[in-house]
Every structure is written in structure tokens, then in C-alpha cells.
């Protein structure tokens, strides 16, 4: 039932209203004092050197890609997880589970490969 989701929209309205109110209210109410260096990025009191548009460690990218891989994997497991017990009731539990094992095994080998290659080692 699509209508079951309607109360979430009500909550979304409340939450967005609250968030917008909070972001705008102190722009309106807060006092402003202009001071030299106040708008600089914080750097422990020293004068800043350059900005923060830096090149990032490739590890963060790797983690993101690995996350997507395993996230999609777990999402594909959801329908099986819901139906696992009814499969067992219909007597096809073992067959379906064997297929799931095959599916996860491929990704498991992938994880082992990344591990072996040092993709999960951070301090390198």
C-alpha cells in the first residue's frame, strides 16, 4: 500500500521545517562583529597555508568502491533472507541456499583478493 508511506511525508515536512528554521534563525538573530582573520579557516592560530582543496588518499576511494560492491551484494540477499524459511517449508531450502552460497562465494573470493593485494591495509 503506497498510502502507508504518507505519514513519512508528514514527518519529512516536520523535520525539514525544523532543520530550515534552525539554519536560518541564527543568521537572523545572531549578532555580527567583523574582525580581522575571523573568516579564515581554522588552523590552530597560525596563518593558514593554502586551502583545503587537496588531493585525497586513494584508500578512501577504494573503501567507497568496496562499500558499493558489498552493499549491492547484501541488498541482493534481502529477498532471499525474507523468503528463506518459506523456501525451507516448500522443501527447496537446500537448493536455494546452494545458489546463495555460490553467489556469495564469488564475492568472498573478491574480498580475499582485495585482502591479499593489501587493499584493506590502511597504514601502507
Amino acid at each position: 500500500m503506497l498510502l502507508d508511506y504518507a505519514p513519512i511525508l508528514i514527518l519529512l515536512g516536520l523535520v525539514l521545517g525544523f532543520a530550515l528554521f534552525n539554519v536560518l534563525i541564527s543568521e537572523l538573530l545572531g549578532r555580527r562583529r567583523i574582525a580581522l582573520g575571523k573568516a579564515d579557516a581554522y588552523e590552530c592560530g597560525a596563518t593558514g597555508v593554502g586551502d583545503a582543496r587537496l588531493r585525497l588518499s586513494i584508500h578512501f576511494y577504494l573503501v567507497a568502491v568496496l562499500f558499493i560492491l558489498f552493499d549491492v551484494e547484501s541488498l541482493l540477499l534481502v529477498p532471499w533472507a525474507v523468503a528463506a524459511r518459506s523456501f525451507a517449508a516448500q522443501g527447496v531450502g537446500a537448493t536455494v541456499f546452494a545458489e546463495v552460497v555460490g553467489f556469495v562465494l564469488v564475492l568472498g573470493i573478491g574480498l580475499a583478493y582485495v585482502w591479499r593485494k593489501g587493499g584493506l591495509t590502511w597504514d601502507r
Binding site: I8, S26, A81, G93, L120
Partner: protein, 341 residues
């Protein structure tokens, strides 16, 4: 189109539960300071109201009137958008948590949750996962090195532990055969030993650890990590925008504690009293949830912080294989018909 009574009940439930969550979040900021004071042999806030109980309200009013500092080099749009993106998903996830069973409001029979949808476990994961955008955009848009590093670390940590969390939920879903949180709770009705914590102890531990990582709490608070990164991704934030990040974090803590209760401690089920009235169920839910909320505080003020490489190593090399193995084992048992059908 629903009739006006249904609409009114929806509005009432949304308002009450959302207001209640904000109240708990505000109370948690006070509890955090009181518990830390208690652990460190101090008094803690005791000036505003009796025993400092009005401190959160005073803090809120103070935040309203604080100056808004936007760094010169920051991206002005994303800088203002990020606190909202961090707080909104955390607050939205509360929509599906069943706080109590059947209740009749103005003649309408309903459950005490904002929305009764049948894929609520998936909804929680999907919406909760969006919180990472606020963190990384807040870090990047500030154009400060501390913010950038904090945002990157926090997002890497959140996505890494989300996997273990999803897999821990999956093994619960296999057990109960439903993505509906109400069904998962109903499956744990009856005695205390019906709770999932006994049949899924590994999933419970994995989920609990993941909740700490997902909410950026100690011992996983690399997003802030004061000695290294000052304030992490919210270093440059001030006034109410700063408060919004924190409100989001405390709401996420509340939701995570509620989810742990729902998945593993039988949610609103009262042991040995199947048809308890709704307020007893709500009380049981509150008691179980406050246990985990207190654990958040206790852990923060007793344990030291990990190193970031340790955190990533645990997430990928320990938690993920264990969670996969747990889903495997649960799936194998379920496929053999051990859990019935």
C-alpha cells in the same frame, strides 16, 4: 485519500513521536554531561533549573543568538546545506520504529509508530545511510584541512560499518522471515528467552559495535577526534548549525538504541505478559532503550579511542567476515527448517 480522522491520527503520531525524540535528544545532552561528571567525580551542570535540568533549553536559546561565522573560502550553499543533510536522515529513520503495539487513538486502531510500512527494516538502512552526505559535504565545504580530514574519515568509517550492520539485520530477517519491524517484534513475543539476543548473540554484538561506529560515538569518534582534528568535520561550524549536527547525532543515537531494542530485545514486548496495555509496552520499550543509551554514555567516558587504521582493520577484516559467516550459518539453519516455517 484517507478520511480526516486518519489524517489527524497521522499528524498526532508524527508530532508526538518526533517531539518525543527531540526531547530525548535534548535530555541526552544533559545526561551526557551529568554522567561524565558522575564518572569524573564532578558535579556537572547544576545552575539552570533544579539540578541543571533546564540546561538543554538554555543551551538552545544561547545557540540561537550566537554569531554565524562562515569561513571566507567555504562554499556558501553546501556549507549551509550540510547540517540539514546530516540531521534530516537521522530524524527520518524514527518513522518506522514501533514504540508500542496496538493502540486506539480517537477510535482508530493503529500501532504506535509514525508509519506502518512492511519494509521498515530496509527503510531504516536506506534512509539512515544518507546521513553520510551531510558529514562529507560539511567537511568538504568548510574548506578547512581539519574539516576535510574529519569528513573523509567519518564517511569512510560510516560506510565500512554499515555493511556489518546490514548483514547483522539480515540474519534477524532470516530468523523472522519479514522486513517488517512489527513482525520482528511479534516473533520475539512471550518469554525472555524468545528474544533474538539469545538466538543471534553474534549478530547482536556486531550490530551494537556498528551502532557506535555509525553514530560516530566513542570509541569510534574519528570524525571529531579532538587531539588530532580539533572538531573534525564541524570545526568551522558555529551557532545553530553546529547544534543541528549534534541534534542529528543524538537523534541517531536514540534511533540506533531503539533499533537494537527492536531487533534483539523484543522491542515493546513485555516478557510473560502478551496482551499488556500500550503504555506498559511503551514503558518496556523505554526501559530497554535507555539501557543502550546509557551504554553509549558509559563507553564514551571509560574507553580510550582507537587508531583510524585499527578501526578500518576491525571493520573490514573482523566484522565483515564474521557478519557474512553469521548470515551463512543462520541461512543454512533456516534452509534446513530449524526455525520452523
Amino acid at each position: 485519500m484517507p478520511d480526516s480522522t486518519t489524517l489527524l491520527v497521522w499528524l498526532l503520531k508524527a508530532g508526538l513521536i518526533y517531539g518525543g525524540m527531540l526531547g530525548v535528544a535534548a535530555g541526552m545532552t544533559l545526561a551526557e554531561r551529568k554522567v561524565s561528571a558522575w564518572i569524573q567525580w564532578r558535579i556537572g551542570p547544576n545552575r539552570v533549573g533544579p539540578f541543571g535540568t533546564l540546561q538543554p533549553i538554555a543551551d538552545g536559546i544561547k545557540f540561537f543568538f550566537k554569531e554565524e561565522v562562515v569561513p571566507r573560502d567555504a562554499n556558501p550553499v553546501l556549507f549551509r546545506l550540510a547540517p540539514m543533510l546530516a540531521a534530516v536522515p537521522a530524524m527520518l529513520t524514527v518513522a518506522v520504529i514501533p514504540f508500542a503495539g496496538d493502540i486506539s487513538i480517537a477510535g482508530v486502531q493503529t500501532t504506535l509508530s509514525i508509519a506502518d510500512i512492511d519494509m521498515s527494516a530496509l527503510y531504516v538502512v536506506a534512509i539512515g545511510g544518507l546521513g553520510v552526505y551531510g558529514v562529507i559535504l560539511g567537511g568538504w565545504s568548510s574548506n578547512s584541512k581539519y574539516s576535510l580530514l574529519g569528513g573523509l574519515r567519518a564517511s569512510a568509517q560510516m560506510v565500512s560499518y554499515e555493511l556489518s550492520m546490514i548483514l547483522a539485520i539480515l540474519s534477524i530477517v532470516v530468523m523472522s522471515g519479514s522486513l517488517d519491524l512489527r513482525e520482528i517484534v511479534a516473533g520475539q513475543a512471550g518469554a525472555i528467552w524468545q528474544w533474538n539476543i539469545w538466538s543471534q548473540p553474534l549478530a547482536f554484538v556486531l550490530f551494537l559495535v556498528a551502532t557506535f561506529a555509525e553514530t560516530n560515538r566513542h570509541p569510534f569518534d574519528f570524525a571529531e577526534c579532538e587531539p588530532e582534528l580539533v572538531g573534525g568535520f564541524h570545526t568551522e561550524y558555529s551557532s545553530m548549525k553546529f547544534a543541528l549536527f549534534f541534534l542529528g547525532e543524538y537523534c541517531a543515537m536514540f534511533v540506533m538504541a531503539s533499533l537494537t531494542t527492536t531487533f534483539f530485545l523484543g522491542g515493546s514486548e513485555v516478557p510473560f505478559w502478551a496482551d499488556a496495555p500500550w503504555f506498559v509496552q511503551l514503558g518496556a520499550f523505554a526501559a530497554k532503550t535507555s539501557l543502550f543509551l546509557f551504554l553509549f554514555l558509559l563507553v564514551r567516558w571509560t574507553l580510550p579511542r582507537f587508531r583510524f587504521d585499527q578501526l578500518m582493520a576491525i571493520g573490514w577484516k573482523v566484522m565483515l567476515p564474521l557478519a557474512l559467516a553469521n548470515v551463512f550459518l543462520t541461512g543454512a539453519l533456516a534452509s534446513l527448517g530449524v526455525y520452523g516455517s
